[in-house]
Symmetry: C2
Amino acid sequence: MIVSGLLTSVGINFALCIIFFVLYSVLRKQPGNYKVYAPRLLAEGKTQRPSRFKLYRLLPTAGWLKSAWQPSEEQLLSYSGLDAVVFMRIIIFSFKIFTVAGFIGIFILIPVNCSGNQLQDIDFANITNNSLELFSISNVNNGSNSLWIHLGAVYVLTIIACYLLYTEYKYISSKRIAYFCASELQPHQFTILVSNIPVPSGSSIGNSVENFFTEYHPVTYLSNVVVHRKSKIWTLTNAAKDLYRMIINFRKVPTKPQFIRDGFLEHEVNLINHHEKKLDDQEANVRTDDSREEVRAAFVSFKSRYGAAIALHMLQANNPTQWLTEQAPEPQDVYWPFFSTTFMGRWISKLTVIGSCMLVTVLFLIPVFIVQGLTNLAQLETYFPFLKGILTMSIVSQVITGYLPNLILQLSLKIVPPIMKIISSAQGYISISEIERSACHKVIWFTVWNVFFANVLSASAFRLLFIFLEVKDIPSKLAVYVPSQASFFIAYVVTLGWTSTSSELFRVVPFIGSLLCKPFARNSDDDVKVPSFPYHQDIPKILFFGLLGFTYFFLAPLIIPFLLGYFSLAYIIYRNQLLNVYAPKYESGGKFWPTVHDTTIFSLVLMQFIAFGIFTLKKLPYATTVTIPLPVLTLLFNEYCRKRFLPIFMAYSTETLLKKDREDQHHPAMPRFLEQLRAAYQDPALVPANYNANHDRLVEPLITTAEIRG
Amino acid sequence: MIVSGLLTSVGINFALCIIFFVLYSVLRKQPGNYKVYAPRLLAEGKTQRPSRFKLYRLLPTAGWLKSAWQPSEEQLLSYSGLDAVVFMRIIIFSFKIFTVAGFIGIFILIPVNCSGNQLQDIDFANITNNSLELFSISNVNNGSNSLWIHLGAVYVLTIIACYLLYTEYKYISSKRIAYFCASELQPHQFTILVSNIPVPSGSSIGNSVENFFTEYHPVTYLSNVVVHRKSKIWTLTNAAKDLYRMIINFRKVPTKPQFIRDGFLEHEVNLINHHEKKLDDQEANVRTDDSREEVRAAFVSFKSRYGAAIALHMLQANNPTQWLTEQAPEPQDVYWPFFSTTFMGRWISKLTVIGSCMLVTVLFLIPVFIVQGLTNLAQLETYFPFLKGILTMSIVSQVITGYLPNLILQLSLKIVPPIMKIISSAQGYISISEIERSACHKVIWFTVWNVFFANVLSASAFRLLFIFLEVKDIPSKLAVYVPSQASFFIAYVVTLGWTSTSSELFRVVPFIGSLLCKPFARNSDDDVKVPSFPYHQDIPKILFFGLLGFTYFFLAPLIIPFLLGYFSLAYIIYRNQLLNVYAPKYESGGKFWPTVHDTTIFSLVLMQFIAFGIFTLKKLPYATTVTIPLPVLTLLFNEYCRKRFLPIFMAYSTETLLKKDREDQHHPAMPRFLEQLRAAYQDPALVPANYNANHDRLVEPLITTAEIRG
């Protein structure tokens, strides 16, 4: 990429950011946009529509920056849960480490790089086009002793990164335990999911579960709910549920018009009566439907958290494929459609998932190829000679090489997280949180493979595979190609970092959606849908920028300031969105952090491998040797962290569980909670069968009838 | 290797086997050799020395074959434990699978191989020297359709092997559970080892353990024993123990002379008094010694097996590196010296162990190089021209190429298991059984790497590493080199299989040892040392023969009859030795089987990889493609087995534990057992402190004073 192309890209993106900021600060104050920019506040009734127009609503102001900045971490924790805090910690961690890296890079490495003259010797004619490389390690003379400074920088950054990783892991572990200790009585803490239940002939699944747990967990066993397979009943139930919600809604807000026009006749019908009649029909359908079928799985509840944990961690039966146990998700987090597959089907699903991931990887080649073609104008001219006239225009070539490739990448990358989520949901996870965590993993590795390696090595996903089979040559190959892609990735940071994050603030798609829907929608604040935070989309993005930072830090430190800009933007914007827009759908208790840790370790080791390759290439054999202990030590550090912290994210300790159980033993709400626990994991497909008796359970399982009706 | 060399090797080894058999059947009947050939029977008092000489003692008879053959598996189980049964099952499994393989190989593949004429086309001059290859796959014409028969054979053998592996795993799992259910009250079932115990300042380790377990396991906790670091006291204690044993010995057998000569003076001293005085001195030393130091580890005993299992499997503390739990070994199986290292030292030990293994691998190059030199006479002649005269003699060259290389390999391989055991004991295992299991692993991979791959690829261990870095080329390289080494490995089977196993029967080293010691030893039956079975030495041997069988089965089926001969020999000889010679030192409950399973899966996949390479080489691309699903399916099968059976070998299920606990709840011996449990894991270094009170505990911890003294 030529330098002017890069500058164009930075310019375009910077302008876009400013526009997004200004637009946001004006539009957010318009009552009509509250649904887009503060759905959560609206849903919680914290925002009141202003009674009359004021001028300041049309001026761009920065007050939102202050209110996004102010809340402390504790406030964020109590408002958005631990997952949101962990998410913000990723940004803070990245900011910290790259501040150090930036300091080293700008004040130490860049002067050293500039003092070399390797590039002038070789390629003086092309120097204007590659002037960015003057600041990179490519300009340091082969065999020069100043490369030892780079080695030192790699060592220092590794040590600081490990130190920060350790303190962060420790901090989040303690937060996780503290969060559990401070939590209310929650059904999922007392419940496990048991699958592959063997059923003796002549017995039902429910009886089998009942017998097994009264036999082997007589003291702690409370109740069980057998899971049912998805069937016709699901569709019926969903329709009934919608109707039911509508009725509840109308009951709550009696001021609303309760009449609709019936057909062409101007005949007004009582709306509630109308819907209740429809609901009764649906219920009759549900009751007569017998297509539902029991699955050999059940939610089993216990009288104490420790009792549930024992049943979870101990091998239950002599046949380890039976009575499989796993922690139950929160009731609202259960992914019910999963139970429509048989449990033996998990196996095949997993294989299918691998296949699908490969397919997505292959299909993604198309945009990658286009991007690669665009960054090499010469190549493009060879393929399409008729473009020559246009391409020679300076501004066109700058936009094409600088901005367009990253825009295409950005748009194609946008669709990857949803696809990965769909793939993950076929993999047999029983909760939405697990699906998103799995999708998060997939997106990370997809990005690393298809954006980093494919772009760096200018190779297709398949050729990449062959490159990686030749293990020996990887470091030197990376050392050759990674530095040459520095300007491409700087452009990537400004496009996918700056602009994409600002557009997150502006919420482009929901905003356009609301504009289009406005003429048709009843202007009601009650049916506001509060979105949940797409962790599987944003965590991989931040981690990938971290990977770019680590790998380019000693090769081309010029990327670091752009990254720091991105992290600052991300910090304030995501805080704002977490406070105003998103409501947590589930609480995994910070389970995303181990993924973050592992990915950062991967980035560190990748950096060290590239350093190994660079020193070989630059003919400094001693430095190459001195690099070898680095990955070894980093991996040992990782191993230690896995031992020290990972178990905390897998299970709560006896210490914590018993302490919590003993605290709650004499809790006044305990008997009532245990009573409600029996019904907490009622399958939605089962509820309509005794629908009239339990109308209220559909909306919020643990609230009594009196509380809603009253 | 030339064919006549192979024949010489077979001849020599066959003759050696016959000699060993004849010698054994005569020598075993001489009362002087009972210590060598039936130490276990002698120690258990089942063999009486015959009162007078009979002629039949000098005739070689085969009666021992019958008595080795007769006992049923149940008898073997009750006599030698489950580990011995599992060991015999390995031989039976191998015999079964290679009977099938032999049938396919001899009656189907060899006729097909002989009908080809690939070799005659190429190398007619050398045919006499390579006539064995006529029977191998090398003789099948390139692109010939008869190669499909080989592919079919590979498929059939894979399917049969998987079926047998499955039934065997299932059988042994059920045996393991049955063995546990039938077991007596045993201290290790009720005990766990807790390490990395945090000690609050001002408290002792014992108090800390007491507080923690009374707090978090109040119902099931029984007692704890803190472990001590090895120190000067160890040496003293050991000396005292020897003396003590002597005294007990003398007390038991009052008919023995109780006097010894004191120096040159013919002054007889009462032996018991003499030793008791020495013992008192030692005790005084022990009591005044204060170099012993508590280690932050303790054996914690529980009132029930289920209670111990819960403490074992649950995460105990919020810091997962503290209160680490593992299953306690049997008291006699504890490897006390281990506790001399600190627990943080485990880390460094592991790294050291990796280093040591690499060193052993490198040092082993020397014999491998010699062996390779000897099998290539021409090469030897180039290096040492003065040998030319001798080497041209037919008999010399036959012995050198046929017998000598394998003898050298055999002798060098003999020392590998003891070395690996020493290395494993530095790795931080707390029991001898775990050390032997780990050594078993190491020996298996060492043999596969240094004997199979190094010989096949004729490469040093280091060059091997580089060969394996080029992943793509491995199958074709193996396909080229493996068939050419067929005759070498046939010679290997007869030398290391036949002769080495027969020499196990004859017990060469102990026999020579007893011959040498006879003039000096008092002829007492009481201090017979009963050896324990060296599983870490013999399991790898059998598994390696299995690997040879699988890889050569379709390449050069001629090896199979030799293997079947080996397995028959091994079956009868090891049975005999288990019944007469070895006594179990510990009982791991069949934990060796997962290793056997994994190694067999590895052999299968290796066979499939070689098949892949062969079909590529023989220009049959369709067959190559059809081979690909094989390793995938085999690995999926392995994954299923890991899920289905492996957990059974890791932990007993709630079902089993509770059933066993409930059975024993009202066992009359229970209160006494629990009382003795408190002292079962007393550190040997601690005992002398209250030595006089507990003299008897040294010999057998769970027997009361009355039982010995009486």
